[in-house]
Subunit: 140 residues, 2 copies
């Protein structure tokens, strides 16, 4: 469970909120669908709330989507639940500045890694939660 499944859980939560729109589903109900603990759901809903994707109110069940479902991209969801600096790849610290490779490797790799990450993010930005929900309801 060290792998980061928050992205997937967040997409799951948003799908449920959309499909049950109007109703009032509790974190306990959502947790039952995700198969996890209600607190985990509330934590992720908190991140989605901070990111402006949903609106929640303390004490009242049933968060609402803060935006039309077709205006929430997977990139929005991904970024909402990434607390770190958002870098997909890490670069080792303090390479030897007395070595030409050590001196320049960080800048060089940062450029390359950024390109790769942006390609991934462009793809995520091209998919919306509406498509995800449609795909879900069109399956048996």
């Amino acid at each position: 469970m060290a792998a980061n499944s928050r992205f997937a859980v967040a997409a799951h939560v948003l799908s449920l909120l959309h499909i049950h729109e109007g109703g009032r589903i509790t974190s306990e109900y959502i947790a039952g669908s995700v198969n996890t603990n209600p607190v985990v759901v509330r934590r992720i809903m908190g991140m989605l709330n901070k990111a402006g994707l949903v609106q929640t109110s303390p004490g009242v069940a049933g968060a609402t989507l803060a935006r039309p479902i077709d205006e929430i991209t997977l990139l929005d969801v991904y970024r909402a639940v990434q607390p770190e600096d958002g870098s997909l790849f890490a670069i080792h610290d303090n390479p030897n500045p007395d070595c030409r490779v050590g001196r320049n490797i960080q800048v060089t790799l940062d450029t390359a890694f950024t390109r790769a990450q942006q390609a991934m993010e462009r793809e995520l930005a091209g998919m919306t939660m509406e498509e995800v929900c449609l795909d879900i309801v069109n399956r048996p």
Copy 2:
């Protein structure tokens, strides 16, 4: 240090091997440039060896590139040092099969996540270690 910097270290190692081609650099020398422990370097060289990117011999210093530097892509390097199943994003286990969302979320997200990962990998596949080395030596 939980972030995975093996990809960056592997690129660093390959750059050193190319730039010092013909010479015999030890894992200790490489570790000095990377700023880590020689054992860490040897382990990563072992993965590069298994992936067919370098050739090493027990007891003898100075691994050699197993392929021309311009035929080693960053995707090759990335894959060489990813021991896991290679998935960029994790999906939570055992969602509730009695719920339409829980029943289908895994397949749906797997499709979307695969698309994003493939976009990233295509970008990595478009960059070679030759370009990385050129960029390094062209810097002060």
